[in-house]
């Protein structure tokens, strides 16, 4: 299937940080960044197509795919019935035979009804077939609590899915990263779970005009500091930055690391930072028990045991189903207050 790639665009500009690309930028929304990445890749590679509920005629339930039907037509932007198990499985079959599907879950919460194809088929195909068949596919959609969506609609699926070998998990925190990481995800030959947040789709950020890709497994240091390393990914990175601002006024200097992908996980960047600050706080929106945050904390303990002045503090969602009430929900989520408290405790300033 090589002829389906349009020619002349094979030199992949890979940049860790979009800023280093230089050149003009524009301020666009998170949703625009994802759309640009998908559209650019679809122009480049005819094997790429998008399917999911309401992605075509409705322009996407959250307008991420707005205008894509008009550009690419109904053969490539495909509305599906509410049959997650069926269409996720179908997309995996299509990936096995050589296509590169982007499969949208309106919310990752709904991917639970497709748990078997996405966890049992996609990540294990390569291994089970002894390397004969891989599964180049991107599953994407909203993850984590929206606003008062209640227990069934507020899943942080990274808490469940990061346990599974064979998947790559991308959780961007800003539009520029979302674009670069999505392009990488689409070109990746393995299954990629790309987790967006309904709460961030309208967030604006500077995104370079030129083409760039961000490699997986490269964390970004969002803020330099000397007293405590805050490690996070996705939406809570923004809370960490807010907390760091508040803590700076109290004389606590935080380094904020945005992991960007949790599988693969960029441990060297974390270790380097913790060796400097001697203190780490992990902020993870999933529940604490068996979570990626717990894994990261364990790894920090292992690699930085002699450097740490305190054990690694963790901030998670509370260990209860997501409540509907706005007051309870805000308190349930990792928030700026909880992060500040954890950092103060970790640095013995409480």
């Amino acid at each position: 299937m090589t002829a389906v790639l349009s020619s002349g665009v094979m030199s992949n500009p890979v940049f860790r940080e979009p800023e280093t690309l230089g050149g003009p930028t524009r301020e666009i929304e998170f949703r625009d960044a994802i759309r640009e990445a998908m559209s650019e890749e679809m122009r480049r590679d005819k094997r790429v197509f998008l399917l999911g509920e309401e992605v075509a005629q409705y322009d996407g339930a959250y307008k991420v795919s707005k205008g894509m039907l008009a550009e690419f037509g109904e053969r490539r932007i495909i509305d599906t019935p509410i049959s997650e198990s069926g269409f996720a499985g179908m997309a995996i079959g299509a990936a096995m035979i050589g296509l590169r599907p982007i499969c949208e879950f309106m919310s990752w919460s709904f991917s639970l009804v497709a748990a078997d194809p996405i966890l049992n088929n996609a990540p294990k195909m390569l291994y089970m077939s002894g390397g004969q068949w891989g599964c180049p596919i991107v599953f994407r959609g909203n993850d984590g609590a929206g606003g008062q969506l209640g227990s069934t609609h507020s899943w942080c699926v990274e808490g469940l899915y990061s346990n599974v070998p064979g998947v790559k998990i991308v959780i961007p925190s800003c539009p520029a990263d979302a674009k670069g990481l999505m392009k990488t995800a689409i070109r990746d030959d393995d299954p990629v779970f790309f987790l967006e947040s309904e709460r961030m789709l309208g967030n604006k950020g500077h995104v370079p005009e030129g083409e760039y890709l961000i490699p997986f497994g490269h964390a970004a240091v969002r803020r330099r500091g000397t007293d405590c390393t805050l490690c996070s990914w996705g939406r809570p990175v923004n809370f960490c930055l807010e907390a760091a601002e508040i803590l700076a006024k109290e004389g606590i200097s935080c380094e904020v690391i945005d992991l960007r992908t949790i599988r693969p996980l960029d441990m060297p960047t974390v270790i380097q930072s913790v060796r400097k600050t001697n203190c780490a706080v992990v902020v993870d929106q999933s529940w604490s028990f068996s979570s990626p945050g717990g894994e990261l904390a364990a790894l920090i303990h292992k690699h930085c045991f002699d450097d740490l002045d305190n054990f690694v503090y963790r901030v998670h969602s509370d260990d209860v189903p997501t409540p509907y009430s706005s007051k309870l929900e805000q308190e349930y989520l990792p928030n700026v207050r909880k992060i500040c408290e954890a950092v103060r405790a970790a640095t013995y300033r409480a």
Binding site: S85, L112, S325, L328, Y332
Partner: protein
């Protein structure tokens, strides 16, 4: 029906005023379905439905106060503000939930029917013969779980009626764009041996009579059924849907066939009620909903401690050891739930 309509109109206002959060799906246009169906059933017949659930809750007897306060996220709500619009549960009224995940309630419906049948056959010898109603949307028909539920119901002779509230759309997808054989939905039930019926969900009396007949057949024969309930959703899918996928003409055509207006006309024509009675019914509905909103405004926010209640019935189980280290992540064992009511039989 008036109560539901009035309730939903005020619910939309409250959503706009940001008193209600999350997703909110109103039932306007479909009132005859919930009202006709529940009226045809016994109160002890279990009901389970999807997230468009305010109408079913009210028709089943939940108070406007409890329903509205739930959406306001207040302690006065049916689930103390923990469930929200999509997850209305009412134990005294045998409403086993609104369920947010499309199709999720259909196997539960089969399970409720399994439970009632088991109770009759194994526990207390065939007296109650309850029939379960499991409501779903036309879009939910395409969830795999529904087919598994129908197969189980057909296989195990479960007294459950799957009522497809066929309002023509799942979000912005017209039924023929998302569902094969959409001109003959009943074929899906037929494939699993379910008794089938097509009903006019815009006519409350027709719904009542047809459902009553069907339910009694299911009760007598302990068999499942499938209903293609034709209706129409007047408003958008949820509060943020501009409805660009259909025309105003189409909406007006259905609105002119309004179930409430039609029923009123027929009652008036038969001299059953007068204009005065209608006016006073409407006034009392308005008053009930106004009171519900006042109640919801005044009902307190849940205390922070509520975050940790109802996670487990007993975090350490029925037979805890002597030491209980604090490793439950904060969940406390405050919970009113008991698996049985202490008497013989199910709850």
């Amino acid at each position: 029906m008036h109560l539901i309509r009035e309730f939903e109109v005020r619910c939309m206002q409250s959503y706009q005023e940001k008193k209600i959060g999350g997703f909110c799906h109103v039932y306007i246009g479909q009132e005859a379905v919930a009202v006709g169906c529940t009226a045809a059933m016994k109160h002890e017949d279990p009901i389970v439905t999807a997230y468009r659930d305010h109408g079913h809750a009210l028709a089943r007897g939940m108070t406007s106060r409890a329903c509205m306060a739930e959406m306001y996220g207040k302690v006065g709500g049916c689930a103390k503000g923990k469930g929200g619009s999509m997850h209305m549960f009412d134990r005294p009224n045998n409403l086993y939930g609104g369920h947010g995940i499309v199709g999720a309630q259909t196997p539960l419906g089969a399970g409720l029917a399994f439970g009632t049948k088991y109770e009759d056959e194994v526990i207390n010898g065939g007296k109650n013969r309850r029939v379960t109603l499991a409501f779903l949307g036309d879009g939910a028909v395409n969830q795999g779980a529904f087919y598994e539920a129908m197969n189980l119901a057909g296989l195990f002779d479960l007294p459950v009626i799957f009522i497809v509230e066929n309002n023509g759309y799942s979000m912005g997808t017209a039924i023929h764009r998302g569902t094969s054989m959409s001109h003959d939905l009943c074929i899906k039930g037929r494939a699993h041996g379910l008794k089938e019926a097509t009903m006019d969900g815009m006519d409350v009396l027709a719904v009542y009579h047809d459902m009553h007949e069907l339910a009694e057949w299911c009760r007598a024969n302990s068999r499942p059924a499938f209903v293609d309930m034709k209706c129409y959703r007047y408003k958008g899918h949820s509060m943020s849907d501009p409805r660009k996928y259909r025309t105003r003409e189409e909406e007006e055509r259905h609105e002119s066939n309004d179930p409430i207006g039609k029923y009123e006309q027929s009652l008036l024509a038969h001299g059953v009620i007068t204009d005065e009675t209608i006016k006073s019914i409407m006034a009392s509905c308005r008053e009930e909903v106004r009171d519900a909103i006042q109640f919801s405004n005044e009902s307190p926010e849940p205390p922070m401690s509520d975050l940790y209640t109802d996670v487990f019935v007993e975090p350490w189980g029925r037979f805890p050891g002597s030491s209980q280290p604090d490793f439950t992540g904060g969940a406390t064992n405050v919970c009113s739930f008991r698996a049985t009511n202490g008497k013989e039989g199910l709850v």
